[in-house]
Amino acid sequence: MPRPHFFAPSQARLLQFVWMAVSAVLAAMTLFPLFWMVSIAFKTPAESFSPNMIPAAPTWQNFIYVLTEVPFLRYMFNSFIVSATVTVVALLFHSMAGYALARLRFPGREAIFLAIFSTLLVSLPVIIVPLFIVVKTLGMLNSYAGLIVPAIFNAFGIFLLRQYYLSLPRELEEAAVIDGAGYWRIYWSVVLPLSRPILAALTILFFLANWNSFLWPLTITADQNLWVVQVGIANFQSQYSAAWNYMMAASTIVALPMLILFVIFQRQIMESIKTSGLK
């Protein structure tokens, strides 16, 4: 039986065209600020504020300046070390916790899970003052440890991994149990390989979040050698308040790797966020 349609075919085709055009225009408007950033990064100071999108005399000078006159490479290095370390350690800890909370039976499991889950409501800004005091007491101010360790612990990752493990079939683990494997071996050689897809998605999300984080590094690093890119760039602004061409070049250098990462892994990133809603 043919389904009755609300619109006549010709109407439907027109509607679809308008629909697509609206989407495309809105999407282009959304991206405009990012294109504008790249455009200014290639402009000379004199041209910074001209309304043309394509620079009249494109130049690499701004990039060269930022990379040579400011310890920008150092900031990038710090950001990379911090983000990579946090990501690797966090994935290990979170997958361990997620596996135990999903699969192993032990007294207090539900209470522990609930306690972890409730920390999802606590965001960094509201505990920034006491967290600073805790980290200071532990002697981690102005150190890589201070940048890295507190950033590792986050309930979001544990929660997602637990959900994932709940949805995995038990049979493979049971086979390993019959073979006499211990819990660590089951986790390491059965569960971890099975979680490759979600670990890949979380790797990108965690790296992204840490590369982009600003408030915490700003708060605990006074030593310029420990600055991460976001702090460096914000400081750049107070130092060269009118040199927008330099600032946009710096911004482009910071944002571009993440945009490229996003373009490559967009499917995984968007899928993992889509499912993180409420399941």
């Binding site: 916790a97 909370l101 039976r105 499991r109 982009n212 927008w244 967009q266 966020i273 409420l278």
Partner: protein
């Protein structure tokens, strides 16, 4: 080894007990690193926040108990009330806008095809750029008279408007930037929710002659309740806590002009790390946490828990 010995004497029972305890031990050990870390870097600070609020902290790390003095100071501090007002205004503006834009974009690109997947990525792209960069770019575009947005405003017949210099507009600008940054994220959350609505419902409604508006009103919205609840809750918590607002405001306006964008978290940060008033800052943060807990509880009551089980 012990297993084997046990097996010989009391086959099933003894062995079951020991494997049970082994499982317990493994469970605790697997959870330990994260539990310990969350306790030290989230649990302790939360409790500490309440405690420090009753102390005055001097520049040398000395603590002096002052009772409710910090809370009394808060009641008399016009800047605290200003910050509370700005925070409320920011949340009241941003949360509904995010909801409407997130859902609107999700509906716009709901159909799965190659065109829409490109468009989706474009809407989401701002979210992968750091807020510091986002704030810088928008600040550049809003520079008085010569920024591209200011030029656009002039062209639209609004010359001389100062987006970040006018106390009436600066907060709107911050809301707009937050919206631009977040809408793609909420679009994805809504897309996830839309995906879970069985197609049969729409087909049945179409056969009954329901138009797009009716289908949206009587199928999409009701079945999207769990997602809507989730979106409202996390966007509200993030807005009030200043999860995105801090970075944007710190870079774009530093809370100005005339404190018009000084949300609570910016004021708390200034008091703590600008003036060393850790006690006062912690007291204000406690009030912020109390407000967050209260709002979440109200939202839970109103939506009867968002009916998590049916998600």
């Amino acid at each position: 080894m012990t297993d084997q010995v046990a097996q010989i004497s009391y086959p099933s029972e003894e062995r079951g007990l020991s494997t049970k305890h082994r499982e317990w031990l493994a469970g605790y050990l697997f959870v330990l690193p994260d539990a310990l870390g969350l306790f030290i870097f989230l649990g302790v600070p939360m409790v500490l926040s309440l405690v420090i609020g009753f102390f005055e902290v001097d520049g040398f790390g000395g603590y002096r108990f002052v009772g409710l003095a910090n809370y009394q100071r808060m009641m008399r501090d016009p800047l605290f009330w200003q910050a509370a007002r700005v925070t409320a205004l920011y949340a009241i503006l941003l949360v509904p806008l995010l909801f409407v834009c997130g859902l609107g974009l999700a509906l716009l690109v709901q159909k799965s095809n190659r065109f829409n997947s490109v468009i989706r990525s474009m809407f989401f792209a701002p979210h992968v750029v750091s807020l510091v960069v986002v704030a810088l770019v928008w600040q550049l575009m809003s520079v008085d008279k010569i920024g591209i947005l200011s030029r656009l405003m002039s062209a639209l017949g609004l010359p001389g408007v100062s987006l970040l210099g006018d106390p009436n507009l600066a907060l709107l600008a911050v809301v707009a930037v937050s919206l631009w940054f977040l809408m793609g994220y909420y679009m994805l959350i809504f897309l996830g929710g839309l995906q879970d609505i069985p197609v049969q419902y729409y087909e049945a409604a179409e056969i009954d002659g329901a138009g797009p508006v009716q289908r949206f009103w009587y199928i999409t919205l009701p079945l999207l309740k769990p997602t809507s609840f989730f979106v409202l809750m996390i966007s509200m918590v993030a807005a009030v806590a200043g999860a995105q607002a801090f970075d944007i405001i710190y870079v774009m306006t530093k809370g100005g002009p005339a404190n018009s964008t000084a949300v609570l978290i910016i004021y708390i940060y200034q008091q703590a790390f600008g003036f060393g008033a850790f006690g006062y800052a912690a007291a204000m943060a406690s009030i912020l946490v109390a407000a967050l807990v209260l709002m979440t509880a109200i939202l839970f009551l109103f939506t009867r828990g968002g009916r998590f089980e049916h998600a």
